[in-house]
């Protein structure tokens, strides 16, 4: 060992010098008698043993210190943190394995490599502030900063202390670096996820708000519609039935005054009243048919649609070509009603707006869904505009109600139209067969 051999040499040199001095006779040796010499020799011998023991002790202590030094040197080199020693000028003087990896420096560090070169330009002020604090206050950090790296920035946490040599007054900076890139990435991902989530929540809230608004609007319109339907029915009853009944009442008033000759019946006088009553009942049937289809509840969807189409043709002289294919009757009642009402509303719209020559209605089944198409060759319309307009005609409302009815039945409702190109209404509704119902009907 290097340490031990140098101390041996030092002892040897001292001995040589002592022997030389004795031989020259320069040393003033007092006169001694025999007894004194014996005592002196004995003392010297004791002293020698003492020195040897001390020497041995020193050797062991040194060996121990060497072992410890080695151990700490390993710990320093292999620590999971980066350790760097900087000169007062910020030059890298020493760096352990992790620090060398982070700072991309060699072992030992190349002359002139400084820590500021390793710091990302974005954080150079942070670095200088850190170093200033370190100089003034002798400790600094922890501070977060980015180091240059080809594969994106590396985030480190930097902490340091200043060491001043008590004899020379020389300053060293000892820094510890922790790589927190992974932590940073996770943190960033978390922030992004949170931002994304917040954005989604905001979006959903907005959507819900719109939906609530739409529903509110719709329910208001539904109330309007209900009122206007009631007005319509009341008008029908008043105008059609009421007027006729008033007529009959008048007839009865006249009848009261009539004197019938003996043997004659009142028949002739009663006839007009009776005819009027018959007319009133006919009108009543038409009104009640519009409100509720007996055929639908008694015979099912296809016969009801046939009746609807026939009546439409007869009343308005617009041919309706109704075709159906493989309808698994009986369908669930609400499903039949949904389709029936949509056809009814479509025919109403066609009558009021379309100026169509012919109407084509087709109802088919495939892939467990009912497919309804209602097509006319009329003037068509601007769908978006009409839907936005919500005019007092209630025509857009009719469309919206059709769509809502379809949605309630779990179906989809499409309208394809443009001015001059007719209107194509398409409805697709999933159909569940109800086996228990099949047995109940003949």
């Amino acid at each position: 060992m290097k340490g031990r051999s140098s101390s041996d040499k030092m002892f040897q040199a001292l001995r040589q010098k002592a022997e030389q001095l004795l031989a020259q006779g320069d040393v003033d040796t007092p006169a001694v008698d025999g007894a004194d010499i014996v005592r002196l020799v004995h003392e010297l011998e004791v002293h020698q043993v003492e020195l040897e023991m001390q020497n041995e002790e020193l050797r062991r202590a040194k060996a121990e210190a060497d072992t410890l030094r080695e151990e700490f040197s390993d710990l320093y080199e292999c620590a999971p943190l980066g350790y760097v020693t900087l000169s007062e000028q910020g030059r890298i003087e020493k760096a352990n394995q992790v620090a060398r990896g982070l700072l991309k420096v060699t072992k030992p560090p190349a002359v002139g490599s400084s820590l500021s070169q390793c710091v990302s330009a974005d954080d150079i002020f942070v670095y200088h502030a850190f170093m200033k604090q370190l100089t003034v206050q002798r400790t600094a950090g922890p501070v977060e900063m980015r180091l240059n790296s080809q594969a994106g920035p590396v985030y480190v946490l930097l902490e340091g202390a200043t060491k001043i040599d008590p004899e020379t007054g020389r300053k060293d900076f000892r820094l510890a670096l922790v790589n927190i890139s992974r932590l940073k990435t996770t943190e960033q991902a978390l922030v992004e996820a949170r931002n994304h989530l917040e954005k989604r929540v905001a979006e959903r809230t907005h959507e819900l708000g719109q939906e609530v608004e739409r529903r509110r609007f719709l329910s208001e319109r539904l109330v309007d519609l209900l009122e206007s339907e009631r007005r319509g029915i009341s008008m029908d009853l008043h105008e059609d039935i009421g007027q006729i009944l008033a007529g009959v009442n008048l007839q009865m008033e006249i009848l009261k005054g009539i004197k019938i000759p003996e043997g004659r019946s009142v028949g002739e006088a009663v006839n007009p009243s009776q005819e009027m009553l018959g007319e009133a009942m006919k009108r009543l049937r038409t009104i009640s048919y519009g409100l509720r289809s007996e055929v639908l509840s008694r015979f099912g969807l296809v016969p009801a649609l046939k009746t609807l189409a026939e009546r439409f043709e007869k009343q308005h002289h617009i041919p309706v070509r109704l075709t159906t294919k493989a309808i698994p009757e009986p369908l669930a009642e609400d499903l039949s009603l949904t389709i029936y009402r949509i056809v009814q509303e479509s025919l109403n719209n066609i009558l009021r707006h379309a100026r169509a020559q012919t109407v084509f209605i087709h109802l088919g089944v495939r892939d467990r869904s009912l497919f309804l198409t209602i097509e006319d060759d009329g003037i068509g319309f601007n769908y978006d505009q009409v839907l936005r307009a919500f005019g007092p005609t209630g025509c857009a409302l009719g469309l919206i109600i059709m769509r809502e009815r379809a949605a309630m039945a779990g179906g989809e409702f499409y309208v394809e139209t443009s001015p001059g190109r007719g209107t194509h209404i398409r409805l697709q509704i999933p159909v569940k067969l109800q086996p228990q119902e099949i047995g109940n009907r003949r």
Binding site: G278, K282, R285, E294, V295, T323, H424
Partner: protein, 225 residues
């Protein structure tokens, strides 16, 4: 006065006014007797069994078993009992269904009472009576049936007449092998609409696939081979 001499009538209607009116009408007739009345289908059947009438005057729209079902049940209890429908309803479905169950007469409430009177007399004599309006509905139905029969003969022509103008356009293009997407672009409609047209055409022309369409189109000379 024996049972055989008088014609026994049961009136089934959920409206008391109607029951009363018919009763009044019959009271003038010495050959007839109203033996009872019922307010719904179930009560009617019970009274048919207990009173054994010769005829039931039956309304269609009634609670607990409507007229149609009640008429069927009466036929099962005793087919000799005559059923006269007296109702506000005269849709083709109701008329034809009741006609099939074998009712003897059908008069609408909106028609003059004389029609009901004539019906009662006719049924009493063992014949059937259907009022003018009801006959009209039956005639329409028969005409329709005849149309259906002749349909088979001119089938293809008729089937193509079932297609709308737009469907005819799509039909010719599909039969000519033009892809759906191209048809959509050419006709300025969405591919989904073309798909919908396609299925409707297949169903209306009763063919399983596009090859079938092509066959019909060639037969009709709509496309060149």
């Amino acid at each position: 006065m024996t049972r055989a001499e008088k014609f026994r009538v049961l009136i089934a209607d959920d409206h008391a006014v109607v029951v009363e009116g018919v009763q009044n009408l019959l009271s003038a007739d010495k050959d007839m007797e109203v033996v009872g009345s019922a307010k719904d289908g179930v009560e009617t059947l019970a009274k048919v069994k207990s009173l054994q009438p010769d005829m039931v005057i039956l309304d269609i729209s009634m609670p607990n078993l409507d007229g149609l079902e009640t008429a069927c049940e009466i036929r099962k209890i005793d087919p000799k009992i005559q059923v006269l429908i007296y109702s506000m309803t005269a849709t083709r479905e109701h008329v034809t269904a009741l006609f099939k169950t074998g009712v003897s007469g059908y008069v609408l409430k909106e028609e003059p009472l004389s029609e009901l009177h004539r019906a009662l007399q006719t049924l009493k004599d063992g014949a059937t009576f259907f009022s003018r309006s009801v006959q009209e509905v039956l005639r329409d139905h028969i005409r329709e049936l005849e149309l259906d029969k002749t349909k088979d003969a001119r089938e293809v022509a008729d089937e193509i007449a079932r297609l709308s103008a737009r469907e005819k356009e799509v039909f010719v293009l599909l039969a000519d092998g033009v892809p759906v997407k191209t048809i959509a672009d050419r006709l300025f409609i969405s591919p989904k609409t073309v798909e919908s047209h396609k299925y409707n055409i297949l169903e209306k022309l009763n063919v399983p696939n596009l090859a079938g369409l092509t066959k019909i189109a060639i037969k009709k000379g709509l496309i060149n081979t």
